[in-house]
């Protein structure tokens, strides 16, 4: 269906969530390459080191040690070379105010971490094609995928 292999970056400090994400990704029909970083500092370091080979999409958790997802998002969107990287926020919070702040800062999609594995698979399956074509770059479309 989607022949292109995507480079996916996940920034999350929760081992379980990283495991679920990997398992969901593995259950998709197409194969992708997943890189995982476990905190904000590590994320920014990785991005700046790989500025020539940026991933197709970043899944970014909010509650992380050292530098949280919101701070990372602000830095990415303020950085000349990083600002076009599609950012999918991936968190447990359901607060609309918080989500609006994230969108205003430059997040492209917001996914509330589901408690059902099938839903997780479905939501990743839904987002990846959009990331592959980078349909977010026009900056007009914002998605809340509230599992």
């Amino acid at each position: 269906m989607n022949p292109k292999e995507l480079n996916i970056l996940l920034a999350d400090d929760d081992i379980d969530d990283c495991h679920f994400f990997k398992e969901a990704l593995d259950s998709l029909p197409q194969s992708n390459r997943l890189t995982i970083v476990n905190n904000g500092d590590e994320l920014m370091e990785y991005l700046l080191e790989n500025i020539e080979r940026l991933p197709h999409v970043l899944f970014l958790d909010i509650n992380m040690p050292r530098k949280n997802g919101f701070e990372c998002l602000s830095e990415i969107k303020a950085h000349e070379s990083l600002k076009d990287l599609p950012v999918v926020m991936y968190s447990t919070s359901g607060s609309k105010d918080k989500i609006n702040v994230l969108f205003n800062t430059g997040a492209d999609v917001y996914i509330r971490k589901p408690s059902n594995f099938a839903q997780l698979v479905q939501v990743i399956h839904h987002v990846l094609p959009m990331a592959a074509e980078n349909i977010f770059s026009n900056g007009k479309l914002k998605y809340i995928l509230n599992a």
Binding site: F20, K113, S115, F117
Partner: protein, 329 residues
Amino acid sequence: MDNTIESAEDKLSIANRKLLFQNEEKEKRAAELSIANKELIFQNEEKEKRAAELSIANKELIFQNEEKEKRAAELIIANTELAFQNDEKEKRAAELIIANTELAFQNEEKEKRAAELIIANKELAFQNEEKEKRAAELIIANKELAFQNEEKEKRAAELIIANKELAFQNEEKEKRAADLIIANKELLAFAYISSHDLQEPLRKIQTVVTIILENENKNLSEKGKYNFQRMQLAAGRMQQLIDDLLAFSRINTTDHQFEKTDLNLIIEEVKNELRDTMQEKHASIEVTEICPANIIPFQFRQLMYNLISNALKFSNPDIPAHIIVTAAL
């Protein structure tokens, strides 16, 4: 010519005879006049006598006349004086008439006024009596009021004491209320944080359950699958509770969100959650005449859950429980 002489002789003879006759007549007349003269002399004498008498009388009269003229002069003076006095008196009389008229008018006015004053006086006398009666009543009322006043002052003194006590209690209560508000905020913050923290491991349990159900489906027995489903339901129920707790902790920051909700759905959810207990108790739920209602869904779901689970909990175990849910407006 003869005739003429004869006629003249005739005429002279006739004239002579006439003269003779006249002479005779005049002698007779003279005799009569002599008599008349004598008479006149007598009368003259009489008249002289009378004149003498008259002269005397005249002198007397002249004297009298003089006297009278003196008297008249005096009278004229007196008269003039009287006339003057008369004038004065007439003026005075005229003045008096005017003054009199004025007095008469004033008198009338005064009589009218007096009549009015009499009426007014009677009225005042009446009012005075009334006022005296009223004054008497007021004195009585006043005494009563003075008594009541004293009572009220006593009561007021008691109330002041009671008021101070209440003010003190009030202050204490305000302090307590302030403490409670702080405690309440802390509790809500605690509820928010703890439920948020509880959510994470629960979500993971749920995810793992769904992974096992999906990936290990063929390795599980039917009993195992059923038990996993029950675990999934219980976890769902717990998630619902945590969500509700989160929503509740946000109550004082956000408004109550009323939603038009189908009560059948809510009761159906509650029934599913309570299925095990219902099977144990052989219970049945009968739902009649339920309509959509404007409610806060999570609070209403909790209410229905509590009501139905209590109904099951306290039902007679020997008789199958039959729960009827009905609605009325």
